[in-house]
């Protein structure tokens, strides 16, 4: 099966033979150029993507998956002060496994631009935090951790919300975010031998989410302070009981209050970025294994470019869990297993857990070849994640990417528990 998938992917790569020959120097057909020009004037762009993943991100998907994705984005201008964005993705992540096609509106909003404010209404992605890749304050909009696409940002999708950015001065912005429709992250929970019921917060006004941020840029220092009153994007599990065959778990999302701050500042050739969030949960006493404990999560790092294009970023992060109780201290075996799962999902395996992340990237041949290695090592339990990525731009339209996700560590650690996801992946992409 793996061979068949590889051959199928190679056949798709054959399509790129035309792509490799394709170049701005090679004249496109007038019809093709006409379509391109039409799309450009209509502010439409997108990508067609063929992907191979050796390992699935959901246990029901099998392995050696060959998928196709069409993604389209349009940025309509609706008036002098009003514009919008629609971005959607249709994907079949497992063509060779009779996988079903899935479609998703990633973003769909209108923005009203006022003299000193921008008001955005609709489904939107809001990304907070100045650290690199690990953002304690990024709690507003979800990610799909099961998506079979190679880039970190492919995981993001929007939440229906109202966002008002008020520009107090050219340097200062006050952001108000209100979402009445909580949308959780999508993760794969181990359901084998368990019955899982998911409950999400009712869509009531009382369950609205609120985010506030005061942001400052310029004069050598960028930074922000923020507050978020909403729901945890990641679920907690609670043991409801057992039926005659297996335990019954409830996956639920609890209220959190987050106080956050971040900054970015340059010191000579070094950029220093930091970010911190204190997350208050409903389990203030820390005695409910079905709700995550309050915690402080902070990260600080530096990056520097060496030679012309080699960028190295190193970050240290720490989580400090308040009123921590080790899952091992729970006598009931089923309850202990659930508490351990929660600890893995929430990164609360230890009272204090330290880690480092490392990202090194380089570009060659005027950015046609790009390589990147991103790695995270949890120092406390020595579990780790490494993702090498290599991208080559055959032309302005055609790009190929190969990479791998490598998880290591004991099975009862955050990354060690994801070992079944280890594998290589590849993508061929046509952008327009």
């Amino acid at each position: 099966m793996r061979l068949r998938a590889a051959i199928s992917f190679a056949a798709l790569m054959g399509v790129s033979g035309a792509g490799q020959a394709d170049d701005s120097r090679v004249p496109e057909s007038p019809a093709f150029e006409g379509v391109q020009a039409f799309l450009q004037t209509r502010r439409v762009s997108g990508a067609l993507r063929a992907d191979y993943f050796h390992a699935a991100k959901r246990p029901d998907q099998g392995s050696d998956l060959l998928g196709v994705t069409a993604q389209i984005k349009t940025l309509p201008e609706l008036g002098e002060r009003i514009d919008g964005k629609l971005e959607a993705r249709i994907t079949n992540p497992a063509l060779n496994r009779d996988g079903a096609s899935q479609s998703r509106l990633l973003e769909g909003f209108v923005t009203l631009h006022l003299a000193q404010a921008d008001l955005r209404i609709g489904k939107q992605i809001v990304a907070w935090g100045r650290a690199d890749g690990i953002n304690p304050t990024d709690n507003l909009t979800p990610r799909d951790y099961t998506v079979l696409l190679p880039f970190e940002d492919d995981q993001r999708f929007g939440t229906t919300a109202i966002k008002l950015d008020t520009y107090l001065s050219p340097q200062h912005t006050l952001t108000v975010f209100i979402s009445p429709f909580f949308k959780p992250a999508m993760i794969s929970l181990p359901t084998a031998g368990r019955t899982l019921r998911e409950t999400t917060p009712a869509r009531t006004l009382a369950n609205s989410e609120l985010g506030l941020k005061l942001d400052k840029i310029g004069e050598g220092l960028d930074g922000s302070i923020s507050y978020f009153h909403g729901f945890s994007l990641l679920p907690d599990l609670r043991l409801l009981g057992s039926n005659p065959v297996e335990p019954i778990l409830e996956s639920h999302y609890d209220r959190i209050n987050v106080l956050g701050a971040d900054f970015a500042r340059n010191f000579g050739r070094f950029a220093v970025r930091g970010e911190a969030a204190y997350v208050d949960t409903r389990d203030t006493a820390g005695d409910d294994p079905g709700i995550k404990n309050p915690y402080l999560f902070w990260i600080i790092g530096i990056d520097r470019t060496f030679f012309e294009e080699m960028n190295v970023n190193v970050q240290f992060f720490q989580r400090r869990v308040r009123r921590y109780h080790a899952p091992e201290g729970i006598a009931d075996l089923q309850a202990r297993a659930v508490a351990l799962l929660n600890a893995l999902i929430d990164g609360q395996r230890d009272r204090i857990s330290n880690g480092i992340s490392f990202r090194v990237s380089n570009k060659w041949f005027n950015n046609t070849l790009e390589a990147e290695v991103f790695a995270v090592l949890n120092l406390t339990r020595r579990d780790r994640f490494i993702r090498p990525l290599l991208t080559y731009a055959f032309t302005d339209h055609w790009k190929g990417t190969v990479g791998a996700e490598v998880y290591g560590g004991a099975a009862d650690t955050q990354f060690g528990s994801l070992k079944p996801r280890r594998g290589v992946f590849a993508e061929l992409r046509y952008g327009f």
């Binding site: 120097r25 340097q171 970015a264």
Partner: protein
């Protein structure tokens, strides 16, 4: 005898005139200062195309719109660049706020990240979006970061030019810019450069920039823009051709435009 005296007097006067003329000519630093200021336009909007050509002749193309505004001190500029093609960098934005008394503020907006990211301003030698222009080539360095020496005058494309050799004043400037030496051919009439040679840190010729189609965009003081620039990297054989397809001097963009608010607009 009378003729001899007259000849001697004439020779003496000619020598004095010649000496006076030479001393009236600007020195190297003055020329480079004028070169620095001659392109400091008050405000400008441009649509430009950058064609990247590799050593096999294959081409890639980047189109962008740029807004430029001179700050109140008449030295520093603000620059906003938004890319419209190709698809993979469409929406990418670049914002620079120069500070002559300190480090510039630089941000890049990548649509995939959904947020602006502060860049290190000292990385002047980094390639500007994969072109043969570095960040330091896009935004001219401060005049006193280099020691300038007049070499000779030379004609380029029929224009008289001063030829100025510029050496970084210290190792930091050399390391940050990636250049051990620059040689600039600056026109004697308007001080705009027509050719620049860049030498790498080991002293080898790295790049040559040819600048043509000079256009005066502001009358007093005279400010000029070159509509065509070609940067050739001799070590890789790669070339970038920058063409200004449309220029609109005097577009009054408010200061608010030069903020991350606008750079993040796709």
């Amino acid at each position: 005898m009378k003729g001899l005296v007259r000849t001697a007097v004439l020779l003496g006067v000619s020598t004095l005139v010649a000496l006076d003329t030479y001393s009236a000519e600007p020195n190297a630093r003055d020329i480079m200062e004028k070169n620095f200021f001659v392109s400091k336009v008050k405000s400008l909007k441009t649509d430009s195309t950058m064609v990247l050509i590799n050593d096999k002749g294959q081409q890639r193309e980047r189109k962008n719109t740029t807004l430029l505004k001179l700050q109140a001190n008449g030295i520093d500029s603000k620059l906003l660049v938004k890319f419209s093609t190709p698809a993979d960098i469409k929406g990418t934005g670049f914002l620079q706020v120069e500070h002559s008394d300190g480090e510039d503020d630089l941000w890049i907006y990548l649509p995939a990240l959904k947020k602006s990211r502060r860049l290190v301003a000292n990385n002047k030698k980094d390639s500007f979006v994969g072109t043969d222009f570095s960040y330091g080539d896009i935004s001219l360095p401060k005049v006193d970061q280099y020691q300038h020496k007049r070499q000779r005058n030379e004609q380029i494309d029929g224009q008289d030019c001063y030829v100025i050799e510029s050496i970084p004043i210290n190792e930091t400037v050399k390391t940050n810019s990636g250049y051990s030496k620059k040689i600039t051919w600056a026109r004697t009439d308007n001080f705009l450069e027509t050719k620049v040679e860049y030498y790498d840190v080991s002293g080898r010729l790295l790049k040559t920039q040819r600048i043509t189609q000079h256009r005066q965009v502001e009358p007093q003081p005279a400010r000029w823009v070159a509509l065509h620039r070609e940067m050739t990297n001799h070590q890789t054989g790669h070339q970038t051709v920058l063409n200004f397809d449309k220029i609109e001097p005097g577009v009054a963009a408010p200061d608010e435009v030069f903020t991350t608010r606008y750079v993040e607009r796709e």
